[in-house]
């Protein structure tokens, strides 16, 4: 009997699915469908688009021309032969885009629309599209036309699938140099940001300097503004009419210098949070051990501090790198002629309407983002195991010289960050730089400028509120299904993968993918194109992952046995969800919603492709006003975003504190 190593033959028992089970599956199905429609399909559409080339295939058309009487016809001749004889179109002239047209009469140098000569046209293959006026024809039957009608005959391009777009991209030195530029900017910014943030985090965690709370607050300010705002401040300080221009000794701020300084500004808080967490979990006992071994401070730093924080440093570096390389706002505002990948996507799509090439650049931009994402996930896993170790938190001891050095460092960073914001505020409030420095509110009169006016601000507010509410509901429910549903393993794994994916997708790429997917009239969701809905969908999707991870962390802390208990009490799962799970996770839910709100207010990258005239957004207005030369109003709009986010954060802190005090009774003994 002991040898019976396997199950006896027979069917494996499966429980019948109750109504609860069906509801759960339906919920998860809906959210999974959301992620498929809002993420997987658009990305697929974009990827396939990058392999599509449009071109005129002249060998597919045949013509016949009559004499002046219109009765005697010459021999049929292909368009390719005509072109060869004429030498009219070189091969590169035959490349086209989806709505390219090639005028057929151009192949006939003698053509005159008044002549009595008649023309015949037909396709020689099944796919030989041409237009007669607005009528699309695609036939191997001859079609006879008088010259006045023939004037309005246009050949249409056919699609071929292949790597031509990529070949073209990599053989174009201007485009190719963007890769180098992007890598250069991202690397330099990453090294600087991680160094600066490490110093700052070290000061906050390891010194006894005063004003730690204030410095923490200041360091978080960049999160509240669009990434292009520092660009505007830098123009005021170091631009052509900048009041600190002399400090540059002839260097220009427009270009890599400006992008790097601005990038350090807007990535600083992200790196700081990660490194600070890593430093705060270090173990006091290790330091005591080092001290008892009489290791020098320097040696302790390299043998205890740095190894302890290494995962945090690596993670911060990759996060910073990704933020910089995928950022679009800053290079747009202060990049000058310096091309980077994100700008190329914008130029190809908005400037040249070359969507296929935009897709190619997007795929190129995806590579570093995905690599960074994978490395970061691996490192995060290791960090978590480090966190769970039982440790005694480090207690810094006062040391006047060290504390003052740290204070000096934090003050420098603080002045830099607060200074950038202050310059924007200053720019927004004065009349006309540099000629009239008197105080004025006219820059806030957005309705006088292009860019969307005050309506853009209200749109942004609406977007942020909708994103916060809808996004949080979707994300939290989705995370609940992944974490607390039993069985249905494959479905949950697929869902989890989809939920992690947005973190690896740069906003520009997502936005472009949305154009391909939603702007297709055959798509049943086409109707949301150009509405507020598509902005909400793209923003929720863009910021999905961080919210999902926050929700998962909170849900994992809840006893796994709540669900079985509720089931045994014959209660539907949604009652447990509403009465217990949501209330217990309320702090996390608030965190997710404020995160969604702030990001929806500041994001530019995805929505810049998707807004329409009546859904213009504040962050995009900053960009467009700056583009139009209205820099002061751009700064003013940027500050509006700042006030709004700061208010939202204060309200959030207030609400969190209230919830905590209300729930004090059941949280602690």
């Amino acid at each position: 009997m002991a040898e019976a190593a396997a199950l006896p033959a027979g069917r494996t028992t499966r429980l019948k699915i109750d109504s609860d089970g069906w509801i759960k599956r339906a919920f998860m199905g809906v959210i999974a469908l959301y992620l498929v429609a809002a993420l997987a399909l658009p990305l697929y559409a974009m990827l396939s688009k990058s392999f599509v080339t449009y071109g005129f295939d002249l060998s597919r058309y045949e013509f016949q021309v009559s004499d002046e009487s219109g009765t005697v016809w010459g021999d049929p001749v292909t368009a390719a032969a005509l072109n060869e004889a004429l030498g009219k179109f070189a091969p590169e002239d035959l490349r086209s885009s989806s709505d390219g047209r090639l005028s057929a009469p151009d192949l006939f140098p003698d053509f005159s629309f008044r002549s009595p000569v008649k023309y015949r046209i037909r396709g020689t293959s099944d796919n030989a599209p041409y237009l007669v006026g607005l009528d699309l024809q695609n036939s191997t039957e001859w079609r006879e036309l008088d010259s006045n009608t023939f004037r309005r005959v246009n050949l249409r391009p056919v699609t071929t699938t292949g790597l031509q777009n990529y070949q073209e991209y990599f053989s174009n030195p201007v485009l190719f140099s963007s890769i180098e530029n992007s890598l250069f900017i991202a690397s330099v910014s990453t090294v600087l940001t991680v160094l600066f943030a490490f110093g700052f985090a070290y000061a906050i965690n390891r010194s006894c300097m005063p004003f730690k709370g204030a410095f923490r607050l200041i360091a978080m300010m960049p999160i509240l503004v669009p990434s292009l705002l520092p660009g505007i401040a830098l123009i005021y300080m170091f631009g052509n009419q900048g009041f600190l221009k002399g400090l540059l000794f002839g260097q220009t701020i427009y270009g890599p210098l400006g992008i790097v300084i601005g990038s350090v500004f807007f990535t600083f808080p992200h790196a700081l949070i990660i490194i600070s967490t890593a430093l705060s979990i270090s173990d006091q006992r290790q330091y005591e051990a080092a001290e008892s071994l009489r290791a020098s401070k320097w040696r302790t730093f390299w043998t205890v501090t740095i190894p302890g924080a290494r995962y945090g440093l690596i993670s911060a570096a990759f996060v910073t790198f990704t933020l910089v390389i995928t950022d679009f706002g800053l290079p747009k505002v202060i990049g000058g002629q310096y091309n980077v990948l994100a700008i190329d996507i914008y130029k190809q799509v908005i400037g040249q309407q070359n969507f296929e090439m935009g897709a190619v650049v997007s795929v190129v931009l995806l590579i570093p983002a995905i690599v960074a994402f994978i490395v970061d996930r691996q490192v995060q896993k290791k960090q978590v195991s480090l966190l769970s170790a039982r440790s005694v938190p480090y207690q810094p001891k006062p040391n006047r010289r060290f504390d003052m050095t740290m204070l000096a460092w934090c003050a420098t960073m603080g002045v830099f960050i607060a200074g950038i914001i202050a310059v924007c505020q200053f720019a927004a409030l004065i009349n006309y730089w540099p000629y009239d420095l008197s105080f004025s509110l006219r820059n806030y009169d957005f309705n006088r400028m292009d860019g969307g006016g005050w309506a853009a601000y209200w749109n942004s507010l609406e977007l942020a509120a909708l994103t916060a509410v809808i996004g949080t509901a979707i994300i939290f429910t989705g995370a609940y299904m992944v974490e607390k549903i039993d069985g249905f393993k494959t479905g949950r794994a697929v869902f989890q993968f989809l939920a992690m994916l947005p973190m690896a997708i740069p906003g520009m790429v997502l936005g472009l993918a949305y154009i391909f997917f939603f702007n297709n009239p055959a798509n049943p969701f086409h109707f949301i194109y150009g509405t507020m809905a598509i902005l909400v969908v793209s923003t929720v999707t863009h910021f999905y992952t961080v919210g999902h991870l926050t929700a998962l962390t909170a849900l994992k802390q809840i006893d796994a046995e709540f669900e079985p208990v509720a089931t045994s009490l014959r209660q539907p799962f949604w009652r447990l969800f509403a009465r217990v799970t949501v209330p217990v996770c309320l702090p996390a839910i608030l965190d997710i919603s404020i995160y969604m709100f702030v990001n929806a207010m500041t994001t530019v990258s995805a929505v810049v492709f998707l807004y329409s005239t009546h859904t213009a957004l504040a962050s995009v207005a900053v960009l467009n006003m700056d583009d139009a030369g209205d820099i002061a109003p751009a700064a003013a709009m940027g500050m509006m975003i700042f006030y709004t986010n700061a208010t939202a954060r204060i309200l959030h802190a207030f609400a969190s504190r209230r919830i905590l005090s209300r729930t004090q009774a059941w949280r602690v003994r």
Partner: protein
């Protein structure tokens, strides 16, 4: 019930059982966690699943609850085949080691959780909650939150919540393991008392033999996913079916030897044993519990009576109610024999370390198990 008998091919003896488990298997991938588990539980019984950690007790309990279905086999409850029913359509209350009380709800809300959407009037629910609180001895804690109660109190609330809906079956998964020893002993009695009062069929999972022996009507001893023995506490203790059961429940002295003619030889001495049905010459392990080693007399009466053994006292350790005594005997070679002697016996016979004495191993207390098969003869 009559339908059941009509469709059931096997004629059920006497009283049909309330919970009937037949041929249950459970696999986690390649790992078999339960193998061929069959079990009958009568209405109102208190059953303990007892076995070392990882032997499959929780897995069996979860299969009964429909939380993680068995791979093969059937489960019937109250005559109904529930093998494929989802948990929500089964009839049981459950209590976990972690209590799983909802932290944001007060004690009374926790208890009322299963009552609230049953269309009962509010006043009736409130009365029921009061009744349950009184039943578990915490009448004045209704407005508190779980975190404000001690572990023992929380477990009582979890129990009250589970029985609030009058389940036909109460499942307890190591309900006492997270508590201090003192609270645990106290709660044992309370749970047992409560179960008797309510008459609810109860299954409790535990790895603590003392708990099982003191609470259960019948114990199901499990090991490596198989049931080793089912029986009342005294049956299990007095007549362990396998060496594993003998070892796991209580203590044993184990001696390897051969069996012949209803007796085993230990050196010169012969021990008569229980009836075993084993063939002559079979290699066996003899097991004797320390309290079954009876002090007979001081000095040697070698070779006189069967089942008497001359020994020397190596050392004695006073453990409050008895003396734990290590004995050495030429008959056993180097194997020491452990005995528990009562205080009275030690005083009466004047036993002390170094003394020579004679002990008796009564035939009906000498357990014999065939060697090399830990599953023993009873189930083979």
């Amino acid at each position: 019930m009559s339908e059941l008998q009509a469709e059931g091919a096997v004629a059920t003896p006497a009283e049909p059982s309330y919970l009937k488990i037949e041929g249950l298997w459970k696999a986690f991938g390649d790992f078999i966690a339960l193998r061929e588990v069959s079990l009958d539980i009568a209405r109102g019984e208190f059953i303990c699943f007892l076995g070392p950690s990882g032997c499959g007790k929780t897995t069996l309990l979860r299969a009964i609850a429909g939380l993680d279905p068995q791979s093969r086999g059937t489960i019937r409850q109250g005559g109904r085949d529930i093998s494929e029913l989802p948990a929500s359509q089964r009839d049981y209350g459950i209590v976990f080691q972690s209590y799983a009380l909802f932290p944001n709800l007060t004690v009374e809300r926790n208890i009322a959780f299963g009552l609230e959407n049953t269309k009962r009037p509010k006043a009736e629910i409130a009365a029921r909650v009061r009744e349950l609180l009184a039943l578990v001895g915490l009448p004045d804690q209704a407005k508190k939150y779980p975190a404000q109660l001690s572990g023992g109190q929380q477990q009582r609330i979890a129990l009250a919540r589970a029985i609030a809906i009058n389940p036909g079956l109460l499942l307890l998964d190591e309900p006492l393991s997270a508590l201090d020893a003192k609270v645990r002993v106290h709660l044992r009695h309370e749970i047992k008392e409560l179960q008797r009062k309510l008459g609810v069929t109860t299954i409790m999972v535990t790895h603590d033999q003392e708990e099982a022996l003191s609470m259960a009507d019948r114990i199901v001893v499990m090991n490596h996913g198989v049931i080793e023995q089912i029986g009342t506490p005294t049956e299990i203790y007095r007549h362990p079916a396998t060496l594993f059961v003998a070892d796991f429940i209580g203590e044993t002295n184990r001696i390897a030897t051969t069996y012949s003619g209803g007796a085993v030889k230990l050196g010169d001495a012969t021990l008569q044993t229980r009836e075993t049905g084993l063939a002559d010459g079979a290699a066996v392990t003899v097991a004797v519990r320390p309290e079954d080693v009876l002090p007979h007399a001081i000095g040697h009466e070698a070779g006189t009576k069967p089942n008497h053994l001359p020994v020397r006292i190596v050392d004695m350790e006073f453990l409050g109610s008895y003396w734990r005594t290590h004995l050495a005997s030429a008959a056993l070679g180097g194997t020491p024999l452990v005995a528990n002697f009562s205080m009275n016996a030690v005083r009466r016979l004047g036993l002390s370390a170094g003394a020579e004495m004679t002990v008796e191993l009564p035939a009906e207390r000498v357990l014999v198990f065939p060697q090399g098969d830990t599953r023993g003869g009873a189930h083979g």
